[in-house]
Amino acid sequence: MSDHELRVSKIARGTVIDHIRGGQALNVLAILGIDGAGGETVSVGMNIPSDRMGKKDIVKVEDRELSQDEVDVLSLIAPEATINIVREYEVVEKQYLDRPERVIGVLSCPNHECITNADEPVATEFEVLDDGVRCAYCETILREDLASHIAAE
């Protein structure tokens, strides 16, 4: 068994997120709301040598596929990632991430004075810029550390 295979053993069913920028795997898990409490089998590889990226992370989650909202936010913090949907040990679908124009209901606005933080019946909405995102309500621009603004479920 090669070194590579040892780290990335096949799963029967679920999602393999590959080519995550080195060091971002835990943020990806945060996006998916996975902290181990749900009982899913999760494997995380960090800073794995990669010809293409230098170092990359890999996350494998068994018995779980991603929603479009999750894919959208993933594209913001891990734009190079590829998503492999696995069924019966085979990759049945491979997705490359497209940056969406907007992400709705996923990030929370860091501006405490924003109407989306005022207990009103409204979902957050962010316009995606080249180098960050912007609240559609208060217009605050967020460039750093998007993962820490993922709205709590």
């Binding site: 004075e113 924003c114 409204v122 605050t140």
Partner: protein
């Protein structure tokens, strides 16, 4: 111009602005002849923050057009006190009124309400966000005093939280105007406004002192620096002193400089400036009525 909402000045083209200012000039010249324009119109005033000028001038404007206003009163005496959401309050008052005017402490409040109501909606200030109707009366005042082309404007004071500043800066990108922003380091323009100005290709410079730029200015727009922005009283006093003007400050200004202020002022402009030819801030406040008459007229007309 969209006739269903005025949320920010970013949505306005030069043509939109000129349409409002032209109509305002007609109304300013002969307000009595517009007294029957909107005899059946009721304007709903939703003010979640204190206001004197904006609220009274909207009330005056709708009355001069022959209509009337209903007012939810202070937040303390309204259903908001019982925990009603803004979205619900707006939907209820929409049933009583032909157009709504909203002032709210949260940024983006007007944008949110626009998703819940169908009647025309005017943003009369959303926290540190925008105040587009103030900008239209500011532009009306600038046009009367200095013209709107080949213009050099200085905007001084609280640029970070000043919604009148943000709205004016966006609107001026429609005109041939150089913009100079003068403020203490801690109250510089927010990143979002700077981003938009950059995107629009506006000619913008930032300064920490007025002296360097004052002689070039056609218009100096002064805003109030609020005490609550500073943790320390001494720091506030020092900054407030540095960003105030009196006749001595204005010695190096052009003779035809126009000094403006959205009011209320505290110490930013010494009373001695009031009687000089520079002072245009009371005229500016007066212009709130014809400009808001024009806006209401266009929006109520367009909604029919």
């Amino acid at each position: 111009m969209r006739h269903d909402q005025l949320l920010t000045t970013k949505q306005l083209s030069r043509e939109d602005i000129e349409t409002v200012l032209e109509r305002a000039a007609e109304m300013d010249a002969d307000p009595a002849s517009f007294g029957d324009c909107h005899g059946d119109a009721v304007l709903g005033l939703l003010f979640f923050e204190p206001s004197t000028r904006t609220k009274m001038s909207f009330e005056t404007a709708i009355k001069r057009l022959g209509g009337d206003a209903v007012d939810m009163g202070s937040v303390d005496s309204s259903s908001v006190k019982k925990g009603e959401s803004l979205a619900d309050t707006a939907r209820v008052v929409e049933g009583y009124a032909d157009a709504l005017v909203l002032r709210h402490p949260s940024q983006g409040a007007a944008r949110m309400v626009s998703e819940f109501v169908d009647v025309p909606l005017l943003n009369a200030g959303d926290g540190a966000g925008h105040h587009p109707t103030q900008t239209l009366l500011d532009l009306y005042t600038i046009r009367e005093n200095a013209g709107l082309d080949d213009l050099t404007v200085g905007i001084m004071g609280d640029l970070k939280y000043g919604r009148t500043v943000h709205s004016l800066a966006h609107a001026l990108t429609n005109f041939d105007a150089d913009q100079h922003f003068v403020s203490p380091e801690s109250l510089k323009l927010p990143r979002s406004v700077r981003y938009d100005l950059h995107e629009s290709g506006a000619n913008v410079r930032e300064h920490t002192e007025l002296d360097a730029v004052l002689p070039e200015l056609d218009v100096l727009y002064v805003t109030r620096i609020q005490r609550e922005r500073f943790p320390d009283e001494n720091e506030y006093q020092q900054v407030a002193g540095e960003y105030g003007i009196d006749l001595e400050t204005l010695e190096s200004a052009k003779d035809d400089l126009t000094v403006m202020h959205p009011l209320p002022r505290v110490d930013e402009i010494a009373p001695e400036v009031d009687d000089s030819d520079y002072a245009s801030y009371f005229e500016q406040a007066h212009n709130g009525v014809p400009v808001r008459m024009a806006l209401l007229d266009l929006m109520l007309e367009g909604d029919r």
